[in-house]
Amino acid sequence: MKLKETMTPAKSAVMLSITALVLTVYVWFFLHAESQISIAILLVAAILAVILSRRFGATLLVEQSAARRPRLSRWLAVGCGLALIAAFYSSHFVLLMLCGVLLYSTACLGLTVQFGYSGVANFAGAAFFGIGSYATAVLASHTAIPHVLVIFISGVIAAVIGSLLLLPVLRTRGHYAALVTIAFGILFKTFIEVNDVLGGPQGLQVPGMNLFGFSLNDGFSLFGLEISFYVPYALLSLAMFAGVYALVNALERSWVGLSMDVVRTDETAASTFGLHIVRWKVIAFTMGNFFAGIAGGLYGMIIAFVAPNNFTFGDSLLMLSIVILGGLGNIAGLIPAAMIVLILPEKLQFIQEYRFLLYASLVIVILLFRPQGLLPRKTRIFFAKKGS
């Protein structure tokens, strides 16, 4: 409490800039690291840094600075993203991983609205992601609709198909509702597998994105440098994540977020004060599936090929584990959690099959010491205090 008074807006800005710089450099090293030694050093360094900065109150200072200057912290985060994309301008593989992190996180923003805010657990996140990919594959191959619109329509299709689930999900509670979504996820994968029109088990080709007459798959060079064709895709993914993040962030700090929280925590009190339980759950479920759908649509265009095996129950679990590992309901935790869940196993290739063992143990250890996730959800503050 006392510290709060000492954090002036100017000090907060400096604090945040330093944090952003350190994190960017760290992620850059992490993405660059190839050898087992360097990865091990980086992991140990991260764990030590987290422990030490908590011990000496640095974490608290950063949190307070971020609360003080929310807009600045968001722009710095976008800046970090841009810097990393620029640093890896020619590395296909790293850029592809970054796209994956950003778009999985976008889908997880949707899951946060569903699970974190209104309490509707969705174990079919990957299915809605997949619906978006398949819708994009079909629409982009067979129609002349502009691709930006195709992505949007894919989101709408995911939301509409999701509304088929509304009745069983709303009639059941808790574990039972979760079971309904699990069944749907399996149904989706099986349906795609047996459906020859959608390519069956072999899957479908997805055309690359064509943005205002530029085909993104062509690749280009700038100032004599070969730029990976993944760079524009990474920028688009960053833009999509940032846009959805801004929306969900506003949602949490509004009557909508408050209503969803009250519906989640006490349905009886909620109805006594006029809240329509069904209305808020429908809005959350539909909105979440839309976000998963648009993320899936763009992801499909990036990987150029979609198959049923990309959207299994395991992938849905991966998404939920990102949501929970990041800190249920705290959207700022999604990116670090997605990095751990998606990039770490790739980086641990050298121990082969053991990588999943190590990675799974790490997730368990993190949740053992931080049961609320990496960045637990903060108490809602609608608007930051005006600068003094």
Binding site: T268, G274, T379, F382
Partner: protein, 261 residues
């Protein structure tokens, strides 16, 4: 006191849970602007009556008229919009949410719920939000000024007494016509109960015609603040009248103390 028009009139209200009759042909009236004490031993149907009145339970038969309109069978949401607000016997606050969050939701009916308004028109939202912050602060100023400085702390860090005050504020924020208080003094000392009741009376002076129904076991609270009492036993009304009248009533004495030896 002021024998105004009847705000609530209940006629032959019956509520059965399987073989148990929780409310048995209950008929009673709540007048505009009065404070009515609802008494009775444990299990006599007081809380069930609140739950039926607020639409949480569907009564088996009978009718409840609110200002001439039958509200039996309406949803809790509709009844709330008709101006009925309540507190719960066991506090029902969202513990992880702040004091402000918990109180402000009480005026849900007047908030703008649109997605466009909430997500995209942030300036307009901010203006509405600022008005609500002032409203909530003004109400807390009456009930517990120290809470004003802790407006954005989560409710789970507060004592039971503060939580109860927060619940009363939540119920009062929408300026209801009828306030239902389910044992507000449970777990409180005499002084604290006194203070809470005085605060409620103070709000009532500002809110024209607010009626209050109070479930209470503390007899001195009943004596000091109610205009009239209704006593229930086994879901039936066994007595009605002023505090002096009902305490002199032999049926009431039997219900509370058992058969005279």
């Amino acid at each position: 006191m002021m024998a105004g028009q009847s705000l609530i009139s209940v006629d032959k209200l019956t509520m059965r849970f399987g073989g148990l009759t929780a409310l048995d042909e209950l008929s009673m009236t709540v007048h505009e602007g009065e404070i009515l004490g609802l008494l009775g031993p444990n299990g006599s149907g007081k809380t069930t009556f609140f739950n039926v009145l607020t639409g949480l339970y569907k009564a088996s038969s009978g009718s409840i008229f609110l200002d001439g309109e039958n509200i039996l069978g309406k949803t809790p949401q509709e009844i709330y919009r008709n101006g009925v607000a309540r507190t719960f016997q066991r506090s029902r606050l969202s513990l992880s949410l702040t004091v402000f969050d918990n109180i402000v939701i009480g005026d849900y009916q007047h908030m703008q719920h649109g997605l466009i308004f909430n997500l995209l028109r942030r300036k307009a939202f901010r203006a509405e939000y600022d008005v609500y912050v002032e409203k909530v602060k003004a109400l807390l100023e009456i009930f517990s000024p120290p809470l004003v400085d802790r407006l954005f702390e989560p409710v789970d860090s507060f004592t039971m007494i503060d939580r109860r005050r927060i619940e009363v504020c939540r119920a009062l924020l929408s300026q209801p016509r009828l306030l239902l208080l389910d044992e507000p003094s449970a777990g409180m000392t005499h002084d604290e109960t006194d203070e809470l009741m005085q605060d409620i009376l103070q709000v009532r002076r500002k809110l024209d015609k607010l009626s209050v129904v109070l479930i209470e076991h503390e007899m001195n609270v009943i004596e000091r603040i109610t205009d009239r009492c209704v006593v229930l036993n086994y879901g039936k009304k066994i007595a009605e009248g002023s505090y002096v009248e009902i305490t002199a009533d032999p049926y009431v004495q039997t219900a509370y103390l058992g058969e005279a030896a």
